[in-house]
């Protein structure tokens, strides 16, 4: 995989993510978050996991980001008040980044190139999901149902 594409996507993704984390207006931040996820999906395409990239686009940008925007709209009255910014968080985040980068660069066994692989078709993913991973799949189904019901109950109007 070409390094030029990698550099472009990396800069794009990280910039969008940084914008999502630091922009003052909540709505702008949410949209930047969606853009950062597009960059992540591009990484997945680059790595040959097209299905996951598409799933990310559908689920995150199609559902989660929209959900965030809706929540912002629902809690709108609160927006616009003075927002503090905690500089200690920046220090901790920088320290974690430094620690991770140092340990990644220190580990020589990680400086490897990608081998050639058989293309990962959706058919293979489907087969894997329906054979070896059928139990996790069922569990995730149950989890999502539970999350759906739980979310509904949480946002129901309290009866007084």
């Amino acid at each position: 995989m070409s390094s030029a594409a990698f550099v472009i996507i990396a800069i794009f993704t990280l910039a969008a993510a940084l914008a999502a984390a630091t922009l003052q207006k909540l709505m702008h931040a949410a949209l930047s978050f969606a853009v950062a996820l597009v960059g992540l999906a591009a990484f997945f395409f680059l790595l040959g996991a097209e299905f996951v990239g598409l799933a990310l686009v559908f689920i995150y940008i199609g559902a989660v980001a929209v959900l965030i925007v809706f929540t912002i709209l629902l809690t709108r009255r609160d927006v616009g008040k003075n927002r503090g910014f905690n500089w200690a968080g920046v220090l901790i985040a920088l320290a974690v980044f430094g620690g991770l980068t140092w340990s990644i660069l220190k580990t020589q066994s990680l400086s490897i190139l990608a081998p050639h692989i058989r293309a990962l078709t959706v058919k293979r993913i489907g087969e894997a999901l329906m054979t070896g991973y059928v139990w996790p799949l069922q569990c995730v189904g149950v989890l999502l149902t539970a999350a759906l019901i739980g979310a509904l109950i949480l946002v129901m109007e309290e009866k007084r």
């Binding site: 993510a17 984390a21 996951v52 985040a93 490897i112 190139l113 990608a114 999350a147 759906l148 739980g150």
Partner: protein, 104 residues
Amino acid sequence: MTTTLQAFLIVSAGLFSIGLLAALSRRHAIFILIGIELMLAAANLNFIAFWRFAPQPHQPTGVMFAIFSIAISAAEAAIGLAMVIAVYRHYHTTNVDQFDQLKG
């Protein structure tokens, strides 16, 4: 020059740190959620990168992990946002520094 696994991991580390920054520094609850989602995305990138650079096994394990991780973080986002709404209704604010019920 072609890209090594380390490059992907460093990008992932950067994404994770940015997510952490959002979760730690911003006062709005939705920012915290966005931060957590970014951290999860970084983890997904790691899953896929390790899968791509490893010798290929019979089953696409890393991809499977990423798929389940995405499903679970979708569930987490749904619950998290519902909680934001519930909390907002209760406290009339989404500012997390005003929630201190956990205070010891």
